[in-house]
Amino acid sequence: MPSEEELYQEHILDHYEDPFHRGHLTSATHAHEDKNPLCGDVVRIELELNDEGKIKNVYFDGQGCVISQASASMLIEEMYGKTIDDIKAFTAEEMLALYGPRLTPNRQKCCLLSWKVLQSAVHSPVASGDEN
């Protein structure tokens, strides 16, 4: 089992306190929000995709534990500027590797919340007035 020094490595706490692109995107073309009902972690991801399927911009917002929020920041930073195909090809295993420390199955759910939300977001165009 990982110790908490391992679990809460400096770069993870850095993402938690100083996240990449936390907020909202008024130009969003796609968006999705989901929660982990077991613990109440919430992540919302808003994407602006251009006609070529490239991510022009992406923001996340949410609330929850360090793992759920820091992993969202790390994922958004990783995917910024990439394509829909890159997102679809990005596996859960790669998400866990991007986060770093080994996680118990329960904490893996925290880490994979943003990954699930992003996978759904690319299939969730923002309709006029109703985005989900």
């Binding site: 706490l13 850095d14 077991l38 613990c39 972690d41 534990c65």
Partner: protein
């Protein structure tokens, strides 16, 4: 770190620490090689050697299916299983032995009433009165019953300090109310609800009462005849017994009038290809092979609890809870959920605005060996009412000590330091940020 005034503990109210030796698991280490401080007893408790020995004794010497064979082992198992029923009967002071139904747990007990009594008795427009602090197991079965029957669910609101609003209760109690179903003790707030008053008022209004006693029977003496309660549900694993067994107590006349819920073996008198006649109580509600060994283990747990005395256990938990409550109250920014110690049973839940409950549970475990629950504790509507997504809960039992509470407090303070804003900056990867 600021120094806080020391909080006194009345050691004369506590049980002897030596009883911890009865619980082998309490010498385990968890997390980063820390001695275990098990403060998750509201979720499930640990077992003393006496219960573990009773369980293995059955498997080693007397086990067979009950009520079926005429061979020696079936006779022995049947006798032990029925002795366990008598032990539960004495614990809650049921008038009749057959008013004690073994189920798989509190959830199954409540579902049995919701399905059997609910479907047979509730009509469109009838009301079932619950409360905002209920565990999901005393909400969802009634939502399902309401959907099937057209009955309407009402919820007793809470006071600001997390107790049932008894004035609102009296207003909500009308001639339409057919059942009041509430917890004796909230598993999240720790609130001890005034069940005797609730039962008396509900009966005066012509309603029946189901008490979810999962958090009360293990900790407080309960007398179903003195309370005049109609249905009572509780679990073995929250009172030093095994998981997989629970009890539904119901008044004889009510259980007799109810149709069986689960159909199968044991619950029948006679079966033909297209029809059956149900067995008498308690078999009528015990379809299939019952939780034989868990029930016998639960009986050993009851013996153990009674050898110490539920009043002494309650005194011990109350003192630990007051001690923890007072210490947590001194921590700035920490919000304790629920009422003052004199209104609560042996647990304290808290939330901290900036730090998620997961962080408390993780660091408390890894660095301090303290096992607590983090999340919504199966009370999502209550957490929504409180305006929080999750909380951290420390819940006590007879084997916990003030030193374990000290480690809890030390851990909470460490978590606050660890996750305090420190002006950290992420290493920049993107040039255009």
């Amino acid at each position: 770190m600021t120094t806080t005034p020391a909080i006194a503990i009345d050691r004369t109210a506590l049980l002897p620490v030596a009883l911890r030796n009865d619980f082998p698991i309490l010498s385990e280490e968890v997390g980063d090689h820390q001695p275990l401080a098990f403060l998750d007893n509201a979720a499930s408790t640990q077992r003393p050697r006496q219960v573990i020995d009773a369980l293995s004794g059955v498997y080693e010497r007397t086990y067979a299916n009950v009520h079926r064979g005429i061979h020696t082992l079936s006779e022995l198992s049947t006798e032990q299983y029925e002795t366990a029923r008598r032990s539960v009967q004495r614990l809650i002071n049921a008038r009749h032995l057959h008013e004690v139904i073994f189920t798989s747990g509190t959830t199954a007990s409540i579902n049995t009433v919701a399905r059997s009594w609910g479907d047979a008795n509730l009509r469109p427009g009838d009301e079932v009165l619950l409360s905002v602090m209920e565990h999901h197991s005393n909400l969802v079965p009634w939502q399902q019953t309401a959907e099937r029957t057209g009955a309407v669910l009402r919820h007793i609101p809470l006071t600001d300090d997390g107790r049932l609003d008894m004035e609102a209760f009296e207003r909500l109690l009308t001639e339409r109310t057919k059942l009041v179903a509430v917890a004796a003790v909230s598993n999240t707030l720790g609130t001890i609800n005034p069940v005797a008053e609730i039962i008396a008022k509900a009966h005066a209004a012509g309603a029946l009462v189901l008490i979810d006693a999962a958090q009360s029977v293990p900790h407080l003496a309960v007398d179903v005849q003195a309370l005049d309660v109609d249905f009572l549900a509780f679990s073995g694993h929250k009172m030093l017994g095994p998981s997989g067994v629970g009890v539904l107590y119901g008044k004889e006349a009510l259980l007799d009038a109810m149709p069986p819920f689960l159909g199968g073996g044991s619950m029948i008198n006679e079966v033909k290809l297209s029809s059956f006649t149900p067995a008498a109580l308690p078999a009528k509600f015990e379809a299939g092979t019952p939780p034989i060994v868990p029930a016998i283990g639960m009986s050993a747990a009851i013996d153990y609890l009674q050898s110490i005395g539920l009043d002494a256990i309650h005194r011990h938990e109350s003192e630990l809870t007051r001690y923890a409550y007072d210490a947590l109250s001194q921590i700035e920014g920490l919000r304790i959920l629920g009422p003052a110690p004199e209104h609560r049973a042996g647990l304290v839940s808290f939330a901290f605005e900036r730090i998620h409950a997961h962080e408390f549970a993780q660091v408390l475990n890894d660095q301090f060996g303290v096992a607590v629950r983090a999340g919504h504790h199966c009370t999502q509507p209550l957490h929504a009412h409180l305006g929080i997504a999750a909380s951290t809960r420390a819940s006590f039992y007879l084997y916990n000590t003030p030193e374990e509470v000290d480690r809890l407090i030390e851990g909470v303070l460490a978590v606050q330091r660890m996750f305090a804003p420190q002006g950290r900056q992420r290493k920049r990867r993107q040039p255009d940020e």
